[in-house]
């Protein structure tokens, strides 16, 4: 049979299939973070209400990078945007995203990996980038290396500038069983499972931390035969499952706050391989992991996906900007000014190209702390967007 014959057969399909494909209404999906807990969070929105404790007088205590602020009962939505940056405004990791190694294409997610994880040289590679503005491809030559514990058939480290970045073979080729994951990624070394949240269905029961995950890996290493489950609707039939949701952050695997869930009914569900993988480890193994974690976990605070702060952009100076949060404060006299340095292209381009100016309400996303001694300097700022303040009410963005 030829594709042409197949195509002719498709032309003969009953109209009901075409009707269905025309009139299909997309499902309103619960955000992943509702299903799978706080480990996966909404990137584009910050909820200022309710991160700490709601207070009766229409105000809330909110933690901004560890600093407690008394804000009005409002929330700020960052207009995060899929801005396509011109080539010169992209970081090198954003510019060069594809390599071809041994005939296979690997893609970068832009995550850097520390040089200490990098091992043998694998080969010299052309690293390709695409400029959306000029419709042109760019190419540089660089070196690809193996990452400790990880098969180069799946992930390699590529040197861009002074840093290494993870590039993953992107083709969907799920393993037959959990044993293949153990062989290809040595997760015992590369994936710490020490932070988790406990869930009863959608109900979150708390956040916990483990001192070490050795026992968990002992159990998981004994589950080599756990078969891969291919079921697109598995996670949708999930509201009644009880599970532990481990936060999966790993430089070596190039993942940040992905999830690794162990369900009481005997499954592992994880998105660390880009697409959801499910393995049936059995109730006994799941019970061993869950019982150990629950018994040995100590309570901790929920960690947001990223920290963020909002306020009015009051000054664009040479090398930094100032953001004042008075507009959000219950008492205007309590306003604070935060300093964000422009020495990171991801921030400076928002001012130079992103159309953000003095007087705008802005949201700053950051990964570090706020250094009060240095003058409320926001550390690790990586994105800046315009924001909108909503007074009261609740809007749940998609």
């Amino acid at each position: 049979m030829t594709p042409k014959k197949f195509s002719e057969a498709m032309s003969e399909l009953d109209s009901k299939y075409v009707n269905e494909a025309i009139n299909y209404k997309k499902k309103v999906r619960k955000p992943v973070w509702v299903k799978w807990g706080a480990a996966v969070a909404c990137l584009s929105v910050i909820f200022i209400v309710g991160m700490f404790a709601l207070r009766p007088n229409d105000s809330s205590l909110v933690s901004i990078g560890g600093i407690v602020r008394d804000y009005k009962d409002v929330h700020v939505v960052g207009s995060e945007s899929a801005i396509v940056w011109p080539w010169e405004y992209k970081t090198i990791a954003e510019q060069y995203t594809t390599i071809n190694l041994n005939g296979k294409e690997y893609y970068s997610g832009g995550r850097s990996v520390d040089a200490s994880f990098v091992s043998e040289f694998v080969g010299t590679v052309d690293v390709m980038g695409y400029d959306d503005y000029t419709d042109q491809y760019h190419k540089i030559t660089s070196e690809a290396y193996r990452i400790d514990g990880i098969s180069e058939d799946h992930i390699v480290a590529v040197k861009l500038g002074e840093e290494f970045y993870t590039f993953k073979y992107n083709k969907y080729a799920p393993p037959a069983n959990w044993g293949e994951v153990l062989d290809n990624y040595t997760p015992e070394q590369t994936l710490p499972l020490t932070q988790f949240a406990e869930y009863d269905g959608y109900e979150e029961k708390g956040y916990f931390r483990l001192n070490n995950d050795m026992y968990i890996w002992d159990v998981l290493n004994a589950c080599r035969d756990a078969e891969f489950v291919e079921d697109d609707s598995w996670s949708e039939s999930n509201s009644n499952r009880d599970y532990l949701s481990f936060t999966a952050t790993s430089d070596a695997l190039g993942i940040y706050k992905a999830v690794f869930n162990v369900t009481k009914d005997g499954y592992i569900w994880t998105n660390i391989f880009d697409y959801a993988y499910i393995f049936r480890i059995g109730r006994e193994a799941a019970d061993q992991i869950i019982s150990y974690a629950v018994e040995n976990g100590t309570e901790s605070e929920a960690e947001p996906y990223n920290f963020s702060l909002a306020g009015t952009l009051t000054e664009i100076a040479d090398g930094y900007i100032l953001v004042d949060d008075t507009i959000l404060c219950s008492n205007e006299k309590d306003g604070m000014t935060f300093k964000v340095y422009l020495n990171d292209l991801r921030i400076s381009r928002c001012i130079d190209f992103g159309g953000i100016g003095v007087g705008d309400i802005v949201v700053v996303y950051f990964t570090g702390n706020i250094d009060i001694d240095a003058g409320n300097v926001v550390e690790g700022a990586f994105s800046l967007s315009k924001g909108t303040i909503y007074d009261g009410g609740v809007s749940v963005p998609e």
């Binding site: 049979m1 197949f6 032309s11 299939y17 697409y275």
Partner: protein, 186 residues
């Protein structure tokens, strides 16, 4: 926007306004569908105009409902004729890519195949589609009937592009097994 029934009424009255209304309401969808196949805006425009002419000649007596499905079928058929006539291999349209994807699923060079009629194959594909979830069925039809890109399908059904690509891989594998079970190749 004018209701389908009103457009059909205009066709029945032989009013050329019918074509203008049809184009205003469904022209964009039709051009996209055609362009997915022929990958050339001018060809797509001609295919859509030919489809309108086809509709003009067929209605009446035809009284299609739903109208969009009907006109899409005409657009697809005409676009495919142009596609196969004009150096199909050089077009690199989404249709080309979709057909390359499906080729691995249906071609078996090691067997001498019995020629199967398109209608017979269509019935097998229909029974296969009936076994899929509605969402997966829509994804499959959007890809191999409408020749939509994964990005377009992702937007349409509200999933990620990666998710669509993975789902299509799985569906093709299932189809391959389904066809093999029914010995479509031998």
């Amino acid at each position: 926007m004018i209701e389908d029934g009103k457009i059909i009424e205009l066709f029945f009255r032989r009013s050329e306004q019918a074509i203008r209304e049809l184009d205003e309401k469904y022209g964009k969808v039709c051009r996209k569908l055609s362009n997915n196949i022929v990958n050339d805006r001018q060809d797509a425009e001609e295919c859509v105009n030919d489809a309108y002419l086809g509709a003009w000649n067929a209605i009446p007596p035809a009284e299609p409902s739903p109208l969009l499905t009907y006109i899409c079928k005409i657009v697809r058929n005409i676009s495919l004729k142009i596609y196969w006539r004009k150096e199909a291999a050089k077009r690199s349209s989404t249709y080309t890519i979709a057909m390359e994807e499906i080729e691995a699923c249906i071609a078996d060079p090691n067997t001498v195949e019995t020629e199967i009629e398109a209608r017979e194959l269509a019935l097998i594909i229909e029974s296969f589609l009936d076994k899929l979830t509605a969402e997966n069925r829509v994804i499959f039809v959007r890809r191999y009937w409408f020749s939509d890109s994964c990005k377009d399908i992702a937007e349409f059904v509200g999933l990620t592009e990666k998710n669509i690509s993975v789902r299509l891989t799985r569906i093709r594998q299932k189809l391959k097994d389904y066809l093999a079970e029914r010995e479509v190749f031998v």
